[in-house]
Amino acid sequence: MTVVAQRRAPTVLGATYIGLLAILAVAILLALTVGPVNLTFGQIWASITGNGTQVVDTILYEIRAPRMVLAVVVGGSLAISGASLQGLLRNPLADPGLIGITAGASLAVVFVIVLGDFFVASLPSYLLPAVHPIAAFLGGLAVTFIVLLTASLGGQFSVGRLILIGVAITAIASALIGIMIYMSSDQQLRELTFWTMGSLAKSNWNTVTISAVAMIVASTLLMRYRRELDLLQLGERAAFHAGVDVARVKFRICGLTAVAVGAGVSVAGPIGFIGLVAPHMTRLFVRASHWVVLPVSALVGANILLFADLFVRNAIPPAEIPIGIATAILGGPFFLWLLLRKTRL
């Protein structure tokens, strides 16, 4: 046996990474400086070196920094999750919402908003700000696992079944959401509507830290399945022939996606289209191998969400457009273009 050296996995030229990292650096700087109160680089530098004023410190560390971190992590992990699911389901139109995450999270949050008065009041006060995030996270996870378990009943965990069962269970969850909305008061309805549009505005270090850790861990674990995702493009039989434990890999990728997206939804609400758009933009510029698509779309997703957030914060101050609307306005037409392009093929 003549094993010389571990071959390096295929990667793109560093230029793509350097370019995207440079854009990311610009986006981060803009996210920290631009806003209702514009900060200069000098003020930020003073703050970093410990000579800043109290006001600048507060704006920078308590408002903009956690929000910026959240945008980067949510954008990146939504993109990685979307790319992984598209690879797993061999369907370029797959989106994390397809396996029930968004529906489950929304259902749980609606439930808490409309019917939660009884038990929420009995919770200790320090838990109150975390009730919605926790509900969203658990709801998304629960519904995703119902989808996965139903799909694996009867032994065959096929992609077609998974998608159809996801659609069916999402429909049931939507109906339950509809019932809750019917029962809700005006104030509850308003709260609910804003939650479903998504927002990074409620970020503080507590929620950001916990959810960011969950997202980063899940996304990093997803990156370990890049080889399997490439092999799955040959179909499940051939992937098995090449040594992939297909059932296990499917379950794990779905589960990790649910954790990553669920953690994102829990703090930022359901932010649509990044999971769909970022991997596609990536594939327009780099090769189709998941070795490249996953990390590059993470950078693309982080950039998109940072710029979208920059836009919604500064478009019509002091009001703030919900970020879900901004990404949908950007993503919707792109999605249509994609569909039209696909049918022409």
Partner: protein
């Protein structure tokens, strides 16, 4: 050595395989022949470890395949499906690299790839997208992938078998011969080959051992000249088939076409 012993398999309510046994040895080409629906592809899939229901009846080097992890199975056999798929926009070169163990050094892989590309007639086209190839060319591209994988596994010291499900079905006559010659050469180099073949003349010319399946059972097995007789083939295929032999000893199998 890959052995199937008394394989039974029922899919839905239909018994597909009913007590099939066979052995694939290094250095030999075993051809599976028989009418449509006889269970050829299913038998190949069973031997590839795909069906849990019969994975106790299949042994790789004495170990039931049920107890072998997928990544270990992959070292001992490579498979070319009847209709290989590719859902992503990969280039020929990327396709051929898929699944190659990471322990293979890159210069070795470069050599293997280049040789597979040359052997299957893709010189200068390695950066073309697979989606732009024709059906037969795609099949050849996947053949190049399987070939590279086989060589990589053997290079790492794994005794690796080659399973092919109708590798010639979508190919022109030149490439049919080219592929089967290549397979024959591999067998002469010590690779055990199991191949599903519809074309009886090709099976007669290239196989060391032929297994004729009929309704999930082995109708006949043995050397091609013994199995392919006028009587056996006419009975198994329920068609009048005439087996002739040329002066050079080549078996020629023809259906009776003249109107009676």
């Amino acid at each position: 050595m890959i052995v199937a012993e008394d394989v039974h398999l029922t899919l839905g309510r239909q018994p597909v395989l009913q007590g099939v046994s066979l052995t694939v040895e290094p250095g030999r080409v075993v051809a599976l022949c028989g009418p449509n629906g006889a269970g050829k592809s299913t038998l190949l899939a069973c031997l590839a470890g795909e069906h849990p229901d019969c994975s106790h009846a299949i042994r790789y080097f004495g170990v039931p395949v049920a107890g072998i992890a997928p990544q270990i199975q992959a070292r001992h056999r490579v498979v070319l499906e009847q209709s290989p798929l590719l859902s992503a926009e990969f280039t020929l070169s990327e396709l051929i690299e898929l699944g190659v163990p990471l322990e293979i050094a890159s210069d070795t892989l470069v050599t293997f790839k280049a040789e597979a590309i040359a052997a299957l007639g893709f010189n200068g086209r390695e950066h073309q997208f697979v989606s732009s190839l024709s059906g037969g060319q795609k099949h050849r591209a996947h053949m190049a992938r399987v070939l590279t994988l086989l060589r990589a596994n053997r290079h790492l010291g794994h005794d690796c078998f080659l399973f092919l499900d109708e590798p010639t079905a979508s190919l022109d006559i030149k490439h049919q011969i080219l592929i089967l010659k290549m397979v024959k050469d591999l067998a002469e180099g010590g690779v055990g080959v199991l191949v599903v073949l519809h074309d009886l003349n090709l099976a007669a010319a290239f196989a060391d051992h032929v297994i004729l399946l009929q309704e999930g059972r082995i109708a006949q097995a043995g050397a091609p000249q013994d199995v392919f007789t006028t009587d056996t083939l006419s009975q198994v295929y329920d068609t009048e088939i005439f087996v002739d032999r040329t002066d050079t000893g080549q078996v020629v199998i023809q259906p009776m076409l003249e109107a009676s």
